[in-house]
Every structure is written in C-alpha cells, then in structure tokens.
Amino acid sequence: MEKILEVNDLHVSFDTFAGEVKAVRGVNFHLNKGETLAIVGESGSGKSVTSKAVMGLIPNPPGRIKQGEIKFGDRDLAQLPEKEMQKIRGSEISMIFQDPMTSLNPTMTIGKQIMEGLIKHQNMSNSEAKERAIELLKLVGIPNAEGRVTEYPHQFSGGMRQRVVIAIALACNPRVLIADEPTTALDVTIQAQILELLNDLQEKMGTSIIFITHDLGVVANIADRVAVMYAGKIVETGTVDEIFYNPQHPYTWGLLGSMPSLDSTDEELIAIPGSPPDLLDPPKGDAFAPRNPYAMQIDTEMEPPLFKVSDTHYAATWLLHEKAPKVEPPAAIKKRMQGMAPDEPIIGAKDGGKHV
C-alpha cells in the first residue's frame, strides 16, 4: 500500500515558565492512501499536538518541533518554511476541529469562509468560488445551500456548523484530512450523522483521514487502523481488529475496559487508576508503569521498545518480552472484547447509521 504520510521520531516541546513540557516524545506512524487511521488517547496524551505538528500549526513560541521528520511525498513538513507550508495547508492537508461553535468566524458569511481557501489555492474567481461553495454545502448535506451560503455561523445549529467546517476542509480536495475530535462537542445522534458523512465523503473522494479521538466507540465505526497514544508516545498500533480482539498493551486494555457498551448491562466499567504523568518531568522507564497493575521492575527503569505482534501490530510493553510472565487481560475486558467488534456498531454505525 502506498504511504501518503509518514511521521518518524517526532518530538514536540512547549517552553513554559515551569520548564520544557515534552508533549510528544518520539512518535512514529504512517498513513496509507485512502485509509482512516485513528489516533486514540486521553486528554494530554499528545494526539492533538501531533496533528497540529503535521499541519505546521504548533504556535511558536512557546511550541517547537524538536526533532523528527514528517514525510509528505518527497517533502519533510517539519523542515518546510512557513510560506511553503501555507500552500499545503487547506489544499493538500486540511483539518477539522473539535468545537464547531467556536471554529467559524462569527462575523463572516459561511460562503466567504469556504471561498477563502478556493480563491487562495485554486485561483478561482469570486463567482466560481461561490458556485463551488454552494456545491460543497450540498455535498456535506446542507439543505437550501443557495440560500444559506450568505448566512452567518450563528444561524446554524452545531451539527450544521460542523458540516460547514467539513466543507471548508474539503474545499480543495485535500489528500489528507485530519479530524481532531470532530464529534466530541456534538449530541450523540448528530455524532452518528457526522461520522456517516465522513465515511461517505471518504468513499467519494478517496481522502486519507487521520481521526483523533478519545472515544473507542467512534474508532470502531470509522477506522481501518488504530494508534494508541499515552504520555506523548504511541504505545500500541494495529488494525482495528487487532486492537479490539487482541490488544497487547495494558493501557489499551484499560481503555477498552473503561468504555461503556450497550449490549452488556451487567458489567461494571473498569477505570484506569491514577492520572497521566506530568510531561514537564516524564518518569523514567515506562510512563504507564505507575498506573499499570502488571508493572515489573524493568518498567521503572527502561522504556519498552515496540514489540512486533504481527506485520501490522506492534505494542510497547515489556509484557511481550519472552522473559516476562504470561499475563492475560482481565476477564471482564476479555469478555468485553468478545462482544465488541467493528461490525457490531456501538454508536450510530458505519452501515446501520444510514438508517438513523
């Protein structure tokens, strides 16, 4: 499969008054053409920072890409000057943000906001851009697009605004779309609609999507592959099936265990104890060790490398070392893994959602 984007050993830090916060500490992943990669993790795990780094939107100061490369075609986005980056942003790689209520300019018509990118990247005339804007609004499912193109964001509901944001992102047929928690701020029913829309659009336009979320239910619906992030690192990566049916990292177990599911009401949720480490001063060894009931001596001293589980499945935990005791995931999580499958929708659905 053709790799469209490849991130190697990415480090991003923020200089604060308290010191250097190492938000991303050596991230590797790649994105294949036409697939959806979900990056999963809790708040502060570095998933948003990673995506902003790809977009070249890390505010500097205080943030900076310390090392690593972001290969997009034959270019390294980490090294690209701002002027060149502007040509890529919005045309080849674009982004959807979390909160549709605040991500649109309140004093500009939505038509103008869609047209801006078209005029900049595709040298369209005003009237061409307006036509295309109406087309895009129709594409993302906004009724009466001709009339609504001259309206302001506050005249749209949250779900409709997120559709507008998607229209802005897709305006120039980008090759990569980064969706940063695009459904988190929305009602559950609207969430399903937006996910369905993204699935549809991907099918039509062949865009590769990086989907950032903390919600494994959403992952099951939309992703082909999953990367689980913790404390600025990717701790496990694999196909959706591998992550859901054969998770290897105790943190992934924890995430799966803490996810509510609809079909099994008798189980209790298993919370991950403790809180993420302070990235001002990341702990020695495995950052997850203090919260890991299976932690071993070595976890407190050495960082685990990525152990290969299959060609597509890797996990960074010492439990996969041959000398480590064989540990089975907790029974409740195992049971849950049985009941969970990408084919069995949790919220809305890839297929079922169409009937909502």
């Binding site: 071993m296 070595i298 490398p305």
Partner: protein
C-alpha cells in the same frame, strides 16, 4: 523492530518481577491551596507597575500630610517683595541643568535681584506665597476630595446595587430605569449645573462628583451579585449544605469586594481629574484655599514667564493619576487573572 533484540535477551530475570507501585500516590494534588486574598497579594507583588504605583501613592499621601509643615511658610502667607521666585534648593542649586538655582528663564537670579536670602524649594507664586507649602496643601485637598467622593460613591453604589440585585423584580426594574435616565445625561453637564447652584467649595465639589459617580459602582455591585446568584459554584456549595452566611462570606464578599476595590482605584484618579477640571472652568476651590487643579490654573496665567508655577503641581497630579491607574490595573489582574481589559 529487530533493533537491540539481542540486547533485550540479556536482561536479567529479576527485572521481570512485579514492581511495587502505589497507584494512589498518583492521585495526590500537588501544591498547597492558598486563600483568595493571599493569592491576589502574591500576584500583585509580582507586578512591578502596581507596586511602583502603590509606593508613589504612599509617598504622596505622606508628603501631603507632612509637606506643608516642612518649612516655616504657610500656604496663605503673602509677601509681594518675594513674588514669583523660581525654585531654589540647597545643594541641588549647584547642579545647573536641574534649574533649581533660583535663576529664571531670562537668566536673572531672582533671589539676588529681590534680595531674598531664604530658599523656596518650589519657588513662590504671584503673591509671594511659598509654592512648596501650597502644592502639598493642594495635594492634601485634592486627595481629600477624591477620597471623600470615592467613599460616597462606595456607600451609595453598594447600597443601591445591592438592594437592586437582592430584591430583584419590580424594585430592580424601577431602580434600573432611574439609572438609565441618569446615564443618558452627560455627567460633566450635571456636575457643572450642580456646582453652579451651590457655592463652589470643597463640599459642593464632593457632592457634585458623587451625583453621578455612584452609578458605576452600583452597576458593578448589582452585576456581581446577580451573576453570583446564578453561578454554578454557588449552587454547588448550597447543594453541599453551605449556609447563606457561608455563601456570602466565602463567595459573595471576596468576589464583590475585589471588584469594589478595583472600581475605587479608578474612581479616585477620575475624581482628582474632575476636581482639577472644575478649577479650570472657574468652578473649583476658592482662594486662599488651593487644590492641585486651582494651583495649575493660577500658574497658567503666567506660564510663559514662570513655568515653574505650572510644572511642579503638574508633575504631582500626573504622578498621582499614573500611580492610581497602575495600581488599579495591577489589582484588576491580581483579583481576576482572566479579566484583562
């Protein structure tokens, strides 16, 4: 991923024993909790502008108390034989560029010309009154007017705003309509009309400044109280069983008092400015009493020849204004780090 595979094999077995990790250790909250006032004071101390302002204010208040008594002249003692002398200060008179050597702008040593042996640190005015004594006396009166006006604003404003917000409904409606009309009238006009009716003097100036001054304070108090009434943390603490007394003591007073202090910090310089302004249009303090504004206004009549009569009181009034504004800004940031307007 074959990297270091051999090295990994060398790891000793004991490394793979379970580690003693205490998960609960993670749950502890770092840092000690600090009180509202302590926290505000800590933030204020970090603001060099605010601290400079505070120090200037304290020095000027001190000078307004002891300044007039620092030499033997009184503020009203006239002596035409020593009129309009420039400033002359012992020791500093030898440093020429400071202009504190009693030489006027035409280059004549007025002290020599008039046969005066004394030193007048800020010079003398047209009636031969000591400018140093008059300036600090004027500062005292300006500060008094400002403080009194701010106090009246505070009393009326807090009562009006508090009543309006506390009773709400019709009372609030009527009180707010009254304010709307008051705000529609330029306060400048109201102040001038008010002083025209009463004879110009310290107390009519204080009253005139208070006629509209309390409106701002009452709005802030009302706004804060209304906001707090509906705020979720107040609801939360009530749900948790806090008594009304505790809600008022722990939530209402710290939040409202901070706003009140900030408003007062801006009321004082504005009162000082308005007092000076009234002197300018002939409605200020009547001689021989003097305020900073009236001294500057008198000085303007002979600005071209005796600039020192305007210079010193102008510096003092500007320092007061700057100091209060700096302190006000600093307090605003200290009490509410989010609000930076």
């Amino acid at each position: 991923m074959s990297m270091k595979q051999e090295k990994l094999d060398e790891l000793s077995d004991h490394m793979f024993q379970p580690a003693n990790t205490d998960v609960l250790e993670n749950e502890q909250i770092a840092g000690e909790s600090t009180g509202f006032w302590k926290d505000a004071w800590r933030r204020l101390k970090k603001n060099p502008g605010a601290i400079t302002g505070l120090i200037i204010i304290l020095i000027i208040i001190l000078m307004s108390i002891i300044g007039p008594g620092m030499n033997e002249y009184s503020y009203s003692q006239q002596d035409l034989s020593r009129a309009k002398l420039p400033a002359k200060v012992p020791v500093l008179e030898n440093i020429e560029f400071l202009g504190l050597n009693g030489v006027d702008i035409r280059g004549t040593d007025q002290y020599e010309a008039k046969g005066v042996d004394e030193y007048f640190w800020f010079g003398t005015d047209g009636f031969g009154r000591d400018q140093w004594t008059r300036v600090w006396q004027g500062t005292r009166i300006s500060l008094f007017i400002a403080a009194a006006a701010a106090f009246i604003d505070f009393v009326i404003g807090v009562a009006y705003g508090g009543i309006s917000a506390y009773y709400g409904g019709r009372v609030d409606n009527i009180l707010q309509r009254i304010i709307e009309v008051l705000v529609g009238i330029p306060n400048l006009i109201l102040i001038i009309l008010f002083i025209l009716i009463f004879e110009p003097g310290i107390f009519s100036i204080i009253l005139a400044l208070s006629v509209t001054g309390w409106v701002g304070m009452s709005r802030i108090v009302r706004g804060q109280v209304l906001k707090l009434k509906t705020q979720e943390f107040v609801l939360a603490s009530r749900t948790l069983g806090a008594t009304s007394g505790r809600v008022i003591g722990k939530h209402l007073i710290p939040n409202v008092l901070g706003q009140i202090i900030i408003t007062t910090m801006f009321t004082i310089p504005s009162a000082i400015f308005f007092e000076a302004f009234l002197s300018f249009i002939g409605l200020g303090i009547r001689p021989p009493e003097a305020s900073l504004g009236s001294i500057i206004n008198d000085g303007f009549k002979s600005l071209q020849i005796y600039p020192h009569l305007v210079l010193w009181p102008s510096i003092i009034i500007s320092l007061i204004m700057i100091a209060f504004n700096l302190l006000g800004d600093g307090l605003r940031d200290a009490f509410d780090p989010k609000l930076r307007k």
